[in-house]
Amino acid sequence: MGMPTQLSINYTRTIGLSTKQQQQLLFRFAVLLIACCVSFCIRLFAVIRYESIIHEFDPWFNFRATKVLVEQGTFEFWNWFDSASWYPLGRIVGGTVYPGIMYSAATIYHILHALTFPVDIKDVCVMMAPLFSCFTNIVTYFFTKQVSDTTAGLFAACFIAMVPGYLSRSVAGSYDNECVAITAMILCFFLIVKSVHTGSLFWSGLTCLAYLYMVASWGGYVFITNIYPIYVLVLILCGRYSQRLYVAYSTFYVIGTLLSMQIRFVGFQAVQSSEHMGALIVFVFLQCYCFVNWIRSLVPRDVFVTLYRIFFLAVGAMFMLAAFLATATGYLGPWTGRFYSLLDPTYASKHIPIIASVAEHQPTAWGSYFFDLHILSMLVPAGIYFCFQNVNDGVIFLILYGSFAAYFAGVMVRLMLVLAPAACVLSGIAFSKLLVPNVAQLRKWEQKKDESQWSEIKGVASSWIGVVRRFYCLDSGVDLYSFGWLEVLVLFSSGWFVVVIVCFCASLCLVRLRIACSEPSFRSSWLRYNTKVDAKILSWWDYGYQISGFANRTVIVDNNTWNNSHIATVGRVLNSPERKAFQICKKLDVDYVLVIFGGALGYSSDDINKFLWPIRISHSVDSTVDESAYLTADGNYRVGEGAGPALVESLMYKLCYYRFGEVQFDRGNPAGYDKVRGEVIAKKKFKLRYFEEAFTSRNWLVRIYHVKDLPNIG
């Protein structure tokens, strides 16, 4: 009879909760749950408003790869050679892809099917980003809790649920590497701090596993590979070296590097390329440092000094020798362009046009700091200030992460995504440090004012009034009522309402943009039903993934820009005169050429506006390409009167403007008026000799041309 009571006593004892702790636990759980729900729901906007669809360019490829993984199995995916892209080269997809997101989606898909939920793989892929944003919330909470305290953790989790910089990359349907990688990255950071704090082998081992997942997910894992050694060095320089640090970093380096080599795309790079050398050097240095420390603890001081000198000389000589040999024999790989462009923002635009041509790789404008982080950009400095007030090992990591992420975000727009979580965590700390001391004060006021007329209005209402008063009558800011913990958070969330609205607008704009972007893809599905199965499509590389996804036809180049000269050749086709382009097309065995033309609709990111990049990139295969021939006499890029002679003759111009001069789209504008460029095109009447029009969509957005056969008589 006594058994149940016995059990329940044991239960409470093992969990060790008093009533207050239970309440706090419940409260934290509730806040996290709400944060997760919010982050999931606001990302569903595109799906609810339009339909469940994959956006943009790269997600299309990821989706296609996931289908292969689910339908044909792991080994087929591992060995997948995609002959439908990069014709005639093909692409070894299994070895040149970060498979983390595909494996995650396939796992979820299989779990759901095992539970007898018959979901479609497309829906799993669409929902991946919102789902992982929930995981990011939880992981961010633990990371912040590890660095600071639970209150800051809750704030950080709420912030990251809505921060626009992350939101814009993880709306439903953007099935891209980043949506998984951010979760993995924060998980890594949490485990790094945890393992440094505890010095336990277990947590260090888990760090390695999280690192493996990060490596499998995104090329940005190099950020972790480099920030951790820098962190170790900083800790040593600050005199905060401890054996915990040794255990954490050494385990991470050895097992982490070995695990990262299991991903085929990384492979031997993990021990050969220069980006990974920093970690190795710090690892060796840490071993020496630890060894010297150990000797110091063993022997008296004078003996130690002698030994230390010998050791120092020996290791120094060996290190110099090794570095010399490695560079002399060419063992160390060259630094890749993307890495250089991180250190020197102007490097890419000078040397590598293909990197500079991507909008995401441009340096960040000032405005986007505010747009992507909103009020967090103001709170971050406060967060760093509070971090310095209460320094521990974890806080140093956070400060380093924040400052490096801020630098990299300035170099490349895309990396704003890395800064967003750092900003959330720092702001969470700032918020909690600002609010917690004040709450006690507010409680006192509340007790004094208990008889006032407002005393019955509690909960949500009072905090709303508080917000209103706080924002509009700052002088009477004393009259804030009834601040318990919950209400502070309600206040906080209602303050954030403004932010959410901004986020909605942001995501709405993004969605519109994406719908505009994906209209070409729907149109390109014309190819699926009207061309031969083995037809080869030539287009600028931006549309490669979408054509192979929608139309299921072979493309010459796609968004995996692994072969620069192939892309340059396609660029050369587009900027050559018709006859020469025809010759190259025949050599490449091209059947159809697809161009995106926005001049009739007013869609500004079309091929004519991108055209300077094909010209610059094709310079690398054919040095006779002269950019100035495509410009007007005074060096401007125009399609109207005075346009460059080479531009008017180029295939791109002809394919875009073929028969355009015959049509008058609007009453007010003359025939041949290009809405994007805002002028009448230079050459209205011309005929195509080697190409024939196959398809033009209703808004003229997609134009597809058939490459004629070679004439029978020479």
Binding site: G199, L201, Q243, V247, T251, T257, L258, L259, I310
Partner: protein, 117 residues
């Protein structure tokens, strides 16, 4: 002059080592020496013969380095001198430390077996 001081210093080091290090740590040190020696043999082999099955070399070498590093970590946690508040290792008892060591070794060697080819 330098030669004698080296010999002198090493002798002193040995004496201090013998006197101050407890027995069970000496056993671990012997194991560490063995592991380091195995790694050194592989490294010399690669220098002499060449890196051809590079994955096999990396797997073997990382196996040794990994075990070495993990065991140093275990040794640090077992060392009674290191139970200072700065290390916060009071709560890690020997059996727990050993289990964690086993866990990390498991992860390491699954990767090694996968990679060795």
């Amino acid at each position: 002059m330098i030669g004698t001081s080296i010999v002198e210093a090493s002798k002193q080091l040995l004496v201090h080592y013998k006197n101050s290090v407890p027995y069970h740590l000496k056993v671990i040190d012997a194991f560490l020496l063995y592991v380091a020696f195995t790694a050194a043999i592989q490294f010399v082999y690669v220098l002499l013969v060449g890196t051809f099955p590079f994955n096999a070399f990396l797997a073997g070498f990382f196996s040794c380095i990994g075990v070495f590093v993990l065991t140093v970590g275990l040794r640090m946690q077992l060392n009674p001198q290191n139970q200072s508040p700065a290390n916060r290792w009071q709560r890690i008892n020997p059996s727990r430390a050993f289990t964690e060591w086993l866990f990390c070794n498991l992860v390491l060697h699954i990767a090694v077996i996968n990679f060795i080819g």
